[in-house]
């Protein structure tokens, strides 16, 4: 094999704009001798280094796999435009960071599927690596390509590109997967995949075939091989407190997007917001104990020297002893000159007490997510907070010294009217007034962000279509006109990106050729404004006989078969249907920590690990 490392370091690196992202020898990077390893795993994050290195899941898997001395896991990110150009012009393959080993030389390529808009980047990376894009075209010498992360919960739009998927908590099954592959190294691809299907969370798309109804419409994806299960059950880490968590995070040289240590305090969320995929697919809530977290934080700071630790979860204020946790952690860390920050602290759970606790916490800005502007619409989406609670939380935050507040809303939610949008404006005005009343000096900095609702698989809103593009623009415009207020900065998201996201998120296998075509047309890094080419995407849809807008707006009936029905995320379809119906009636559903609703998750858990999940099914 060519000495890729030498060529890269001598001839390529000095020409790059940001060389530090390609060095691969950061503090705590795991550099091993491949010749002494039995399994080589490339962990691919389909975005730039600065984004990928900010992602927790990747860090967990990286260190978990490298714990085994005979396995080596290395990181691979999408190269910047300058390096990509050099690679294509000079025929230099995509390589891992640590040892500059071509991606194609690994045994297993694991891809994080964080968002739909990264799918073409996955294909560009495979292309740069010289790995055939379609799993069916890969030869025995090519690595197996596995995808995991939230994107794997509706794997069909990208089914053709992956040899298999891991549904659920990858840290639960990936070591087992690698072990099986290690034991059966000499078997053919097909044989190896057949050994994997028995493991929880493993979905091998080539073992399934689409069946059609008599009328020729989609019926279901059914196993085409006796060993493939009819439904693939999500892998779950039952006891998070006992679960593996690295403390020796890699320390990047340059600054990355989330440049701090991440302390995952719990996984899952019990609030049951009906639009939220994370709130459904990461159930149930699993907490780490306070003492465990304190020890982890200490170790992390010692091994990395980072100056900031951030609590992470879907809604950190919901941690059962959040006040004590903040108090103890900030006391522990203050001695080391380290800040504590709470990026995911949501208004829902912000209290005076918490505000006081947070005195020692870096006031980097608080994020509050009311999501909708009126009580009526908040009831529809099951965002159980009232305006009074909201205002009181904001008042506490102002009193505790915050001046910088971010309010997150969603636009285009089911049943949304202009009154709901004006409700957002009204809320923002209330927040401004509260600031004055709280005796705040000058102007607060209120950032109002309105994203466009994208219906996602495995949520109660999975049956809804997205609103048409023109309507998105009209609503954005309405908000923009009304939010020209002093101290208020309004942010909105490109309608076209949301449209594409929606078109892919609930699609089926018919999208495989579309995404392939888009990549061939040059699409990549679609979530970056400067790379996003909506025209090329539209072309890719049209050439395959599909209409992008129609896919995004597609409305499913409650009884329709869905392309992801064979993926068992744990939450039952019956539960989602009931939540859908309650939404239409504007009925809220309580937080399930106050009483189990029988969402179906319990069936995924061993009897002794069910915690609050006591009901197996809807009562």
């Amino acid at each position: 094999m060519k000495n890729y490392k030498e060529i890269f370091w001598q001839e390529i690196l000095p020409r790059l704009e940001k060389p530090t992202r390609y060095l691969g020898n950061e503090v705590n990077a795991q550099i091993k001798n491949h010749e002494q390893c039995t399994m080589r795993i490339a962990l691919v994050f389909p975005d730039l280094y600065e984004i990928g290195m900010s992602h927790l899941g990747l860090k967990i898997l990286y260190h978990l796999l490298n714990e085994r001395p005979q396995w080596v896991a290395e990181r691979v990110f999408m190269p910047g435009a300058d390096l990509e150009k050099i690679m294509r012009e000079e025929n230099f393959p995509l390589c891992s960071l640590e040892t500059v080993t071509p991606l194609a030389a690994f045994d297993l390529v694991g891809v994080t599927l964080q968002y739909e808009l990264s799918y073409t980047t996955v294909l560009q990376m495979l292309d740069l690596a010289g790995i055939p894009l379609l799993a069916a075209d890969r030869s025995e010498s090519d690595p197996l390509v596995v995808g995991g992360g939230p994107g794997a919960f509706n794997p069909e739009p990208i089914a053709g590109f992956f040899d298999f998927f891991v549904i659920g908590d990858a840290e639960e099954v990936l070591p087992e997967i690698v072990q099986v592959l290690e034991e059966h190294k000499n078997l053919s691809r097909q044989e190896r995949l057949l050994r994997l299907v028995a493991l929880p969370g493993v979905y091998v798309p080539s073992l399934y075939e689409a069946q059609q109804t008599a009328a020729g419409t989609f019926l279901k994806l059914a196993p085409a091989h006796p060993s493939a299960p009819a439904r693939v059950r999500r892998a779950v880490v039952a006891d998070l407190d006992e679960a593996y968590y690295p403390t020796d995070f890699v320390v990047p040289y340059g600054s990355i997007v989330h440049d701090r240590l991440v302390l995952e305090i719990f996984r899952g969320c019990s609030r049951g917001c009906r639009f939220c995929q994370a709130g459904m697919i990461y159930r149930p809530v699993r907490e780490r104990k306070k003492e465990t977290l304190r020890q982890m934080a200490q170790k992390m700071v010692r091994s990395t020297g980072y100056e900031e630790v951030a609590l992470s979860s879907l809604s950190s204020g919901d941690y059962s002893a959040i006040g004590e946790l903040i108090q103890d952690l900030s006391a522990d860390l203050a001695g080391e000159g380290v800040f504590l920050s709470l990026p995911s602290l949501r208004l829902d759970s912000f209290s005076q007490d918490l505000a006081r606790q947070s005195q020692q916490v870096r006031k980097s800005g608080l994020t509050f997510a009311p999501e909708a502007g009126t009580q009526r619409l908040r009831d529809v989406i099951n965002k159980n907070i009232t305006e009074a609670e909201l205002i009181s939380a904001v008042r506490d935050a102002f009193a505790a010294g915050w001046t910088n507040i971010k309010l997150y809303f969603m636009l285009g939610l089911p049943a949304e009217t202009d009154d709901d949008l004006l409700g957002i404006v009204h809320l923002v005005q209330q927040v401004l007034n509260t600031y004055k009343q709280a005796g705040g000096k000058g102007r607060p900095q209120i950032t109002v962000s309105a994203s466009v609702f994208v219906p996602k698989a495995h949520t109660p809103f999975q049956w809804f279509g997205q609103i048409p593009e023109a309507e998105i623009r009209r609503r954005q415009d309405l908000l923009r006109r009304h939010l020209r207020l002093p101290g208020v900065h309004f942010q909105w998201h490109g309608a076209e990106m949301s449209l594409l996201e929606a078109a892919i998120a609930r699609g089926g296998r018919e999208l495989v050729p579309v995404i392939l075509r888009a990549a061939k047309l040059g699409c990549k890094l679609d979530s970056w404004d400067e790379h996003f080419r909506f025209d090329l995407w539209q072309q890719a849809f049209t050439e395959n006989g599909l209409d992008l807008a129609a896919c995004a707006q597609r409305q499913y009936a409650l009884t329709d078969p869905l392309p992801w029905d064979h993926i068992d995320a744990g939450v039952s379809k019956r539960f989602l249907q009931r939540e859908y119906e309650r939404a239409l009636k504007g009925e809220t559903t309580k937080d399930c920590r106050e009483g189990c609703l029988g969402c179906g998750i319990a069936l995924l858990l061993d009897k002794e690990n069910r915690g609050v999940c006591i009901n197996e099914n809807l009562d």
Binding site: L23, Y306, V338
Partner: protein, 233 residues
Amino acid sequence: MRIWIEFALRESLRFLSHLDLMRTWQRALRRASLPLVYSQGFNPHPRMAFASALPVGATSLGEYVDIQFAINITDKEMAALQAELPAGLEILQWRVVPKKAPALMSIVKAAEWSVKVPDDQELPERVQKLLQSASLPIVRRTKRKVSTIDIKPYLYRLELKPSGRLEMLLAMGGTGGTKPREVLELLQIPAAGSDLVRQKLLLAAGPYLQSPMAVLLKEKEVFFNAKADYYQL
């Protein structure tokens, strides 16, 4: 306790920006559990400063950093710090400095550089011409303006070694200076100038240029007399 550390920066760390280097040191200090003195205020930062930013891509055999520790420092602490620095950063020597010592940044006066230059028959002649010219005007562009500056007074020494390396002693700091890149441009050497090394940083001590450590030792160890040795070249 306030100390100056002289360190070498080698290998891949030459790609670090000044800010990256600052972070790298701060994190190594925290890993070594060496408490620092922090500035007061809303966003406290450690009292720590480098003598001069090294251009990205250059290595160095004599960088300086000034750090205020909240504890007493001995060789033991320095060994602990060295153990936490990434490969490519090496502590060469360190000395305690008086609390009131000026900031290194304000007293560095010159730097010695060495760079590998491509084989070129005509290069010696160009070097000679440069040394003999009465003035060396160059054009500098900033975002706001374009100006012409004579860098001749800043070129203390220039010598092409038989080894194929060009050695330069160039003024820097508040009273004006020039960078290796500018001299290389005048010599029509491609800017990429591979293997640029900053050999040492020098302070002005009276009429002399001395190493910061030598100034600290107050031994009047004269490295060289700028006027006598270098202007003549």
